[in-house]
């Protein structure tokens, strides 16, 4: 079975975070086959995210490789109480992608676009292989994003996709730093509501 077939078969299986935690435990015991299984399970989500951020397939592949390597090296630092394995992986990957975006900005002085990225995110539900449970959560988060006031969504977009600090966001938007902080906090609190609701239902 080649990796692409493995990827397809895994994505159609019903998995839970407990399965991923078990893989992380095996990685802590230096079982590299667990790294392979984790890769098969999450490469698509991770690649999708970092490609969306970086817009460059070569760089996205580099980040994918760096992310899984870091996961292998730092497996023992994963704490289940702080979130799902997918959260941990996507957080590592997003940080690495943002590092590259920031480096590009430093070296090439890339213009900071203020395009409405969240507005262009596709509504979930088009991928038949996706689990229903995941689809519902994504749909809620997607809806919450669309309902955010434009000024809160803009702050979130600049932080999430462009990797800007709050001070940089204040410069770009011309808003006081305190206002930026407030908007970011309010936006995040609104977005986390569907997640909290989802947890209450599933736990």
């Amino acid at each position: 079975m080649n990796p692409s077939e493995r990827e397809l078969s895994y994505s159609s299986e019903t998995r839970s975070n407990a399965d991923d935690v078990a893989l992380i435990r095996r990685m802590c015991d230096a079982d590299e086959t667990a790294l392979g299984a984790l890769y098969d399970q999450w490469v698509r989500s991770l690649y999708s995210l970092v490609l969306h951020l970086l817009k460059d397939p070569d760089e996205a592949e580099d980040v994918v490789e760096e992310t899984f390597w870091q996961a292998w090296r730092k497996a023992s630092s994963y704490e289940p109480s702080k979130g799902a394995v997918s959260t941990w992986l996507l957080t590592i990957g997003r940080r690495k992608a943002l590092d590259r975006i920031r480096a590009r900005r430093r070296y090439k002085e890339d213009a900071i676009g203020r395009d409405q990225v969240f507005a262009n995110l596709p509504a979930p539900g088009l991928d038949p292989s996706e689990q229903t449970e995941g689809k519902e959560l994504k749909a809620h988060v997607h809806a919450a994003l669309q309902e955010l006031p434009s000024e809160q969504r803009e702050v979130l977009e600049l932080g999430y996709f462009k990797g800007l600090s709050q001070t940089e966001i204040a410069d770009v938007t011309g808003q006081p730093l305190g206002t930026v902080k407030t908007r970011m906090r309010l936006a995040m609190q609104k977005l986390r509501e569907p997640l909290s609701m989802h947890r209450r239902v599933t736990e």
């Binding site: 080649n2 990796p3 692409s4 990827e7 230096a30 590299e32 086959t33 790294l35 392979g36 890769y39 098969d40 490469v43 698509r44 989500s45 690649y47 999708s48 995210l49 490609l51 969306h52 397939p57 996205a60 592949e61 580099d62 994918v64 490789e65 760096e66 899984f68 390597w69 292998w72 702080k82 979130g83 799902a84 997918s86 957080t91 990957g93 997003r94 940080r95 480096a103 995110l121 596709p122 979930p124 959560l137 988060v141 997607h142 994003l145 932080g159 999430y160 990797g163 800007l164 600090s165 709050q166 902080k181 970011m184 906090r185 936006a187 995040m188 977005l191 986390r192 997640l195 909290s196």
Partner: protein, 309 residues
Amino acid sequence: MNHEEAFSELAAVALDSASAEVADAVRAHASTCPECGPELAAMEETVAAIGELAPQARINPGRSAGIRSRLLVRARNERESQSAPVPGPPDIARGVASLTGLGHKATPGAQRPVAADARRPTPATPLRHPVRTDVSPSRVNWYAIAATLAFIITGAQLWRVTQDRNEMRSQLAAVDTVQPKSDSMAQALSEKEAMIESMAGPDVKVVALSTKPTAQPLGRMFWNRATNDWMMVTYNLPAPKPGKTYQVWLVTDKAKISAGTFRPDSQGRTVMHANYALARDALRAVAITEEPDGGMPAPTGPMVVVGSA
């Protein structure tokens, strides 16, 4: 940082939009705060959930398989090196070392940093555990490319190192009154002279290194076949991509032998020294590839430099 301050920064920390100092302070507070800890975790989950909204893209299956394979090889190498280090045979025990501290690193399996020492380089893992890989059909391609490059042996083969030595001599004379610096430079000068001495004579084979595919000359590999000393000098070599390193390979008919990883300095210069026994007529080419940090047991990345032996 008090509770209110930390709480107000949770969103920024979760989004990675806070400064490193603020993030550290918030995380330190959150690790003990019953309110901020779960809130930060929930916000980080929210950030990840947003990430999962990204349009689904499928990574190229062939390249994905390559990434997966590299990861597993690196992981296996790391596990094996940590669990059972194997001593190398005596003739390769001296290994590779950077003479100038230009960032030479050990290849997979290496756990010790490589120290600089000119006359007797500190043993380094790459050649203590030479990685031999079977030569694949693509070997023909390597040789074909290498064969197209000019074989250059001129009286200026060592001019780079000699130039360094002469410059050091001038500087040494200029700072002769400053004892500590003078001592350090004298030692460096001695190292350079020892290097030049070991890399001159009838037994020294010189391989001109050029970029691929543009064939710009950018270095030499000197191989003293009498003493099995190897010295590689590069200049004008661009820095590898972030997260990557350069890896040197000695290509024979039967194997591509890792000779270590390195990063050139800001001027693209590198000086590496090794001691490794190889049959006098075995070397076919020297190649440098770009590999993930830490190096690989076999070449996987693009070949950026090659020289025909």
